[in-house]
Amino acid sequence: MVTTPDTTVVEEPRPAGPEGEVLLEVSGLRKHFPVTRGAVVKRQVGAVKAVDGVDFTVRAGRTLGLVGESGCGKTTTGRMITRLLEPTDGRIVFEGRDITHVSQGTMRPLRRDIQMIFQDPYSSLNPRKTVGSIVGAPFRLQNVATEAGVKKAVQDLLDVVGLNPEHYNRYPHEFSGGQRQRIGIARTLALRPKLIVADEPVSALDVSIQAQVVNLLEDLQDEFHLTYVVIAHDLSVVRHISDQVGVMYLGKMVELGDNESLYDGPMHPYTVALLSAVPVPDPSVRGGRERIRLQGDVPSPLNPPPACRFHTRCWKAQEVCGQVEPPMVELKPGHQVACHFPENAPPDAESRVAKAAGIA
């Protein structure tokens, strides 16, 4: 079915079905970037396995936090969901519809529902355009009519994100990083999307500004009934905003769980290490937690370690870790992990993992 974007008024929020219903379902998602050699005749000599089999679901009105060190494939995942990148393999189902490989033409009207906030507020706004034309572009591109004209709609949006509507005619270079990110947020809101993928929305900002922008995202979620996938490279940023958190390592999801369960009892050694790096304000809570320093760098996704990809840096690694890939197992309700020797796990965890891996 090819739907041309007809002219519709979208001043009203467009809630994505009943709260809690599955909005986005990602399964087995992969992106391999071919590595070629040769100037004229190109030969493929390998592939960067940026994302290598990722599964998760996001429910309407909820927030999934995606966390992992830089280079582990978070941005690539976000870009596949927004269909800025073509997945190599796997499935992306949005509102029950498989959008994994739909054509750009079919995708165009759907883009109203799925928007993206970009990481770098200095690169995501066209320096030659005014704020008004940046925030107003989605209306024109999607042929969406507004009740009182594009200008009024843009000014309302600027107001919503906490900017002065009078600054309509200003250029991006006149704003600070935090203000620029707000402009970017206003732009994504223009089409009243259902799902917003926010790629490290605050990592380019001063620490003092970060909380403000995160709070804004939270407020907007309530006001516009938004569903979020929020990407971050450390666990502290997504802690308050997420209902569910997924931890990625080298293109794989290694742990996925409900917010509280994951922060209170991280099971994957990598998550434990990431959490130990997060400063804990209350010293009494910090007591039991020792800061774990991961040795070495993240291995290259061009040639990732076999089986458990974390075994080159894991302090609990044993022989089996480099031989058998640990499957994702739901060890606690709503909390899955892929590790042979999980921490904070129920007593029978290791045997359950071994069984799932077929080595028991």
Binding site: R112, I114, F118, P127, A137, Y171
Partner: protein, 333 residues
């Protein structure tokens, strides 16, 4: 023809915001273009170059008016001004023929008014240089932006074409083509055909330089997230190319154009000098030089005037172009 201006910066990262360098807080409510203009206005040398450029353009536009006020028709012979034995102008300093009626003197032998011929020569010079530049810039920018944005085989094909055009022996080709194309082509004949041919040759075979610059800048611009933002809102390729990317390429296009114009002026003069450009009796600066060179030892003035005209014009465009570049990217200084 070798590369008219250096293209080494072509792979440099496109930095449309570079114009902001050192502006402090004085940017409120101003576009990057307005900021560049503020900076350019303070550059006295560039502004003089720009003023001179405007004067030259006005001179070319109002050539008929100027000659009717201060001169004589370009084709009018004034043999009364010429010494019939020596074929030199009779009067004026250095036997130039300069007088109140002939501001820049008269030609040896025929006694035509040099002032009028210089003024009308500016028309040919600027017309050909501007239109040839326009042609190069339109072809070069379009192909450069398309190659840079789409990449893949499109880029491979266009980049190879650029290499071919860059290696082209343009001057030889121009001389050959000008000799071959005669009579009536596309409804043009005579000097109309000549002018059209020169614009085509100079313009069409020069697009690769700007093409390469724009391609390089597009390669770096397309990595900016605002391009992805536009795609994620459903923008199609033409919108991204011409509404998102092109405005960020205005600076290099402008600078390159102002620096290409003087090169084209010199090229046109060279072709006219070699006799493959616009023919007599239409006045051209190159043609005037060609007539003057064999007799320069007797009549140096006759050679100095068109030489100085070319020099001033080229200098004015270069000063303005350099200033424009500094104003648009002060860090590149």
């Amino acid at each position: 023809m070798t590369a008219p201006i250096e293209v080494s910066g072509s792979e440099a990262e496109a930095q449309p915001e570079a114009v902001l360098a050192g502006m402090g807080g004085k940017v409120e409510g101003r576009s990057l273009g307005q900021i560049a203009w503020m900076r350019l206005r303070r550059d006295k040398v560039a502004m003089s170059g720009g003023a001179l450029v405007i004067l030259l353009i006005l001179m070319a536009i109002f050539a008929p008016l100027l000659t009717s006020w201060f001169g004589h028709p370009t084709g009018e012979f004034h043999q009364d001004m010429i010494d019939p034995n020596l074929q030199r102008p009779l009067h004026g300093p250095w036997h130039s023929g300069i007088s109140g009626k002939f501001l820049l003197g008269v030609e040896p032998t025929n006694g035509r008014d040099i002032f009028s011929r210089i003024v009308y020569g500016a028309r040919i010079s600027l017309l050909i240089a501007f239109l040839a530049t326009l042609l190069s810039v339109v072809i070069g920018s379009t192909l450069g932006i398309v190659a840079g944005y789409f990449g893949g085989w499109v880029d491979t094909v266009i980049a190879r074409a650029m290499d071919v055009f860059l290696a082209f022996p343009l001057l030889l080709f121009a001389i050959a083509l000008a000799g071959v194309v005669q009579g009536k082509v596309f409804g043009l004949s005579g000097n109309g055909l000549r002018i059209g041919l020169l614009i085509f040759i100079i313009g069409f075979f020069n697009w690769a330089y700007i093409g390469r610059i724009i391609r390089g800048q597009t390669l770096s611009l397309r990595e900016r997230e605002f391009v992805d933002a536009a795609r994620s809102m459903g923008a199609r390729a033409p919108y991204i190319l011409f509404r998102e990317l092109l405005p960020n390429l205005v600076a290099p296009i402008l600078v390159y154009s102002t620096l290409l114009i003087p090169t084209n002026i010199l090229f046109e003069a060279a072709l006219s000098y070699l006799g493959v450009g616009v023919n007599e009796p239409t006045p051209t600066w190159g043609g005037m030089l060609a007539q003057a060179v064999p007799i320069y030892s007797v009549d140096p003035w006759f050679m100095i005037v068109p030489g100085v005209a070319i020099f001033i014009t080229v200098l004015a465009f270069n000063l303005f172009g350099d200033g424009l570049r500094d104003a648009l990217d002060p860090r590149a200084r």
